[in-house]
Symmetry: C2
Amino acid sequence: MPSIMAINGFRASAVASGMRYKDRLDLGLIVADRVQAAAGVFTRNVCQAAPVIWSRQRLRGARAILANSGQANAQSGQEGLEDCRLSAQALAGFLKVPANGILLASTGIIGPRLNLPAMTAAMPGLVSSLSPDGLGDFARAIMTTDTRPKEATAQAAIPGGPDIGIWGAAKGSGMIAPNMATMLGFVLTDAAIEQDLLDGILRRGAEASFNRVTVDGDTSTNDSLFLLASGTAGGPPISGGPGAKAIEEAILGVLLSLARQIAKDGEGATRLVEVSVIGALDDPDARKAARTVAESPLVKTAFFGADANWGRIMAALGRSGASFDPYKVDLDLDDVPWVRSGQDNGRDQAASRVMGKPEYRLLINLNAGQASHSVLTCDLSHDYVSINGSYRS
Amino acid sequence: MPSIMAINGFRASAVASGMRYKDRLDLGLIVADRVQAAAGVFTRNVCQAAPVIWSRQRLRGARAILANSGQANAQSGQEGLEDCRLSAQALAGFLKVPANGILLASTGIIGPRLNLPAMTAAMPGLVSSLSPDGLGDFARAIMTTDTRPKEATAQAAIPGGPDIGIWGAAKGSGMIAPNMATMLGFVLTDAAIEQDLLDGILRRGAEASFNRVTVDGDTSTNDSLFLLASGTAGGPPISGGPGAKAIEEAILGVLLSLARQIAKDGEGATRLVEVSVIGALDDPDARKAARTVAESPLVKTAFFGADANWGRIMAALGRSGASFDPYKVDLDLDDVPWVRSGQDNGRDQAASRVMGKPEYRLLINLNAGQASHSVLTCDLSHDYVSINGSYRS
């Protein structure tokens, strides 16, 4: 468990609203005393949930985030957007901020309308329990099939400026895939940052973290990642230079930790595997090769069984669309030279030992060029099938 | 079980060679008295197995097919091609035909070299047991994780010509995906057909059958589909007209039956689902939409659990790359109008009933254009994971 810290200028809380399940934290709130800049990246799925449509247009002027689990408010039509407006208005009344200052995020079943009465009835309790120490509860309230809350924190020293803090939480375990990985993510910092820099930090950070995680190749209707900076750490807003670099590195560290926690908590996952392709002809080839291997059900079941069947990796590479010579491919499992020039290298036992570990790296050298790409993935287990065979029940 | 028939001009046999497993039919032989025309289509995987490279160049002049299960002879380098040559030469000596007249097909583990001593030692028994009634044994010899042999037969009347017979067998249950579906397929006919017509029939037939089956999105290194015509039914070789049409329809029927049997016998499969997209903007969109839904692990586990969770289908469509309005999509399960204009239609119980059946159709109308595409798929079950977690053991 990462240590939970408070971030200057933010309060949070969570309650069990009963919107869908009884006695389960399912509604979380983050409120900022003030917000200097707010950034967001959202799902690229054609089917965009109502809270995605709502929040995308309201990043400027954001003051609070309301997140619920259990109901996605997706494919819910005009009624879904109306439910966004009504829930934001109700909360705005309690918080004394404009309704357009409230960002919304939902995760859960697609289709049904939001249980607005239960949500609204829970708001007074949610608001009255706001606390600088409430971030851990918020992280628990956004869980669905997650088996544990996902939090990460970082601190950084701004050269010639104040120390700053960063906190992040995420949920996501099924429907995880690049473009952009399913999940809800919330990152807060007390740093003073210019809006343009914050936008760039989040865009680059998401690309290097959440967009390189895959559990099952599916991408959700609700993916949202928010980054709010309060500026309460003090100092002039940073727009570049060494201060910007320090902030970006610290935020990236938080994003990478959250992405890693998501892959490790993939539905039914028992192992975390980094699939690294090097020596690809170009970037698109590197990406195709890494993703095809990382998403192949046959490869992922071999990961589960710790079955050192390298032929499945060759077969996945061969259908990926990447250009390479099958007899120039090298495969390594951690430090074991598993396959050389596309053929077995007599290390079956050592390879099986690596594959029995909870975390390892599969390195694929296509020996066709200079491009590289890495993807974090997990194995495909019996429990994935159990969890997803009856998610709604 | 389809009825087994003999095809004029062909003999077949199978033995348990012990190449990899004991006491399991694993080596099959088909010999033609004469071959008038032979066609083949092969895997598009960059990693092509040695028997694929061998057979692709030897369709003209083919007289026999030797097929084994248990060892794929893939990623086996120059030695793999040399093993092809040696096995063909050995068999050619027994059959008194040129080595270049022998087509080869292998399925099984990628990597290890072919067990040539065991294969060669089994050849005398294989040749001596050749019989017009041996096709059923051949179909059993090519099975790997298949739970049952797959055969299909058809008869057709050539207008103004002889009656003809068609027999086909296939193997394949994992690593099944379009382009071109994993499998070995063998189709024989006694019809007299011109070479060009035969090539076209096989190309179009594979596109309409095997290339529309998906079990797990993986495509093998060894996929091969052969079509041999002996011409022993008599009459002049057909090159067009109503005779060609009759033959093509009959052969397509055999291919469709085999493709359906493959999807139904997908590893661990408990249900066969036809995913039909209509109303797509264009053909590529129709194909992308149908394949993405048919290959989505989240959709396939919902098929397994008979969970009428239509949001997963919308989410898969939304990431497929197809262009459509989420609020114009209609979904039907057999005759149940499940989703209308992208929203629930109050038929949850009826939909669950259809999803509990062993076979049904999911009809997706994108209402964006006139293009359509269908894919056969199966569910993703616990047994898929069990089978593939330790395939080699």
